[in-house]
Amino acid sequence: MKKTFLHDEHIMLGARMVEFGGWEMPVQYKSILDEHKSVRENVGIFDVSHMGQVFISGDDALNFLQKIVPQDVSKFSLNHAHYCQLPYSNGTLVDDLIIYKLENKYLIIVNVSRREADVDWFNINSKGFNIKIDDKSDEFSMIALQGPKALNVIEKAGIKKENQPKFFTISQTKLFGFDVYLCRTGYTGEDGFEIICKNENVVDIWKKLLEYGQEFLIAPVGLGARDTLRLEAALCLYGADINEETTPVEADLGWSVPKDKKENYNGKEIILGQLNGEIPLNKRLFAFEMLDKAIARHGAEVFIDGKKCGYVTSGSISPTLGKNIGLCLISFVGECQDLATSLNTKEKSIGRTIQIMVRNKMYNAKIVKKPFVQKKYVK
């Protein structure tokens, strides 16, 4: 199993380590609930060094990216971040990505479990383009600093206003004397930063952030709370909510896909067709809240009007709301084809009662609006 450069720090902080995507990562330090609360109320620090960093450069970098994502990369401004998807030719997802436009290159953040598949797909699609695909994941570490006090920590660390990136932008600056990419992004629904640095500097940066963050009640946060935080914000997790069988529109990510992009891209016909309503959806991701007392977890079967029509993709307690919440993928084909019309608008779907089977018993839930907890980005 791979270890991040912060492995020893986690052990010293008393973390319980688990396997995630081939990496040994902290799942919790003391308590998932306390760590979750720290991020919502103060600030949490996460080791996300398992995430991959791939740089794309060369004369055809823009044209190449235009071919591989549904988003219109020609409209990306310098130092801005964009949430993108990486579809196969049939519109289903290789991965979801954050793409940063830097000077003369693009930085792509990829999911750890998909790093190889992504780079393979980049290579397959690179024929005829004058580009360089540079997977630097093994050279970089990554720390996330998330929560309403994240900015206080960054300010205390001496990052001046002009070097503080605004929401969904990136700046290249020095942090504690080390070169870093400082990004105003995250996976919690809170304001915060992601810091990409060289492996050899990450321990110093981690320790100093913990030290400078002390007065703001900073807490180290593991993957357990990272999952409950992102679920409350209704942010998809590749491998759970989205995978090689879901398209962006089926995953309810249509908001991120422009209808007016002129360039052709992989899966455009299907993705755009689904977005415009010309191609019917086979399934769709919905958010739900349990009405009965049970936690519906990944894989639990979903029933509507007595028919089995889907399954839970992510489910957990929401520590912020004190309710049990989740995402589920509901089928619109076969026995469930009438759902395609009865659930096809927000007005019709929100509030609809569904049943979820947990340990062979049926429990009521209802479809709700996303996100579960309002995002508190500072824009």
């Binding site: 609930l33 357990g224 977890r297 340990r359």
Partner: protein, 128 residues
């Protein structure tokens, strides 16, 4: 959780404890099991008067991450469940030996079923 367990407690390899109290037996989870589970957020307890053999699943405990089945350390009939846990499952984390008990049972098979249960010190040695 560092509180010492009550005198006379017996523990199973599957991490439950049993304490004889008059003509019933109180059953709970060990401190080691609770530490491994982390924050407990939901408890599903059996119905009164239901009967279970030793080793049968009688309850489900859910932490933030996962659901875990809990096994009977001895056979018996459920005569009381800890209803406080329904609204306050965190009592298990906070007070595993007292307020965090799960069920009380009547057992005719205790003398047979308790073979293989360990005293706390031996359990500790075996698991940690």
């Amino acid at each position: 959780m560092s509180i010492q367990p009550p005198e006379g407690i017996l523990c199973s390899k599957s991490h439950e404890w049993v304490l004889e109290q008059g003509d019933t037996f109180k059953i709970g989870l060990t401190d080691y099991a609770v530490e491994q589970l982390g924050d407990i957020v939901f408890v599903e307890l059996p119905e009164l008067d239901s009967e279970f053999a030793k080793g049968e699943v009688f309850a489900t405990i859910e932490s933030v991450k996962a659901a875990s089945e809990i096994y009977m350390p001895i056979g018996g009939k459920i005569v009381e469940v800890n209803e406080e846990l329904i609204n306050a499952p965190e009592l298990i984390n906070e007070n595993v030996w007292e307020k965090g008990w799960l069920v009380k049972v009547q057992s005719d098979s205790f003398s047979q079923d308790s073979l293989g249960l360990m005293e706390y010190e031996d359990y500790k040695e075996e698991t940690v």
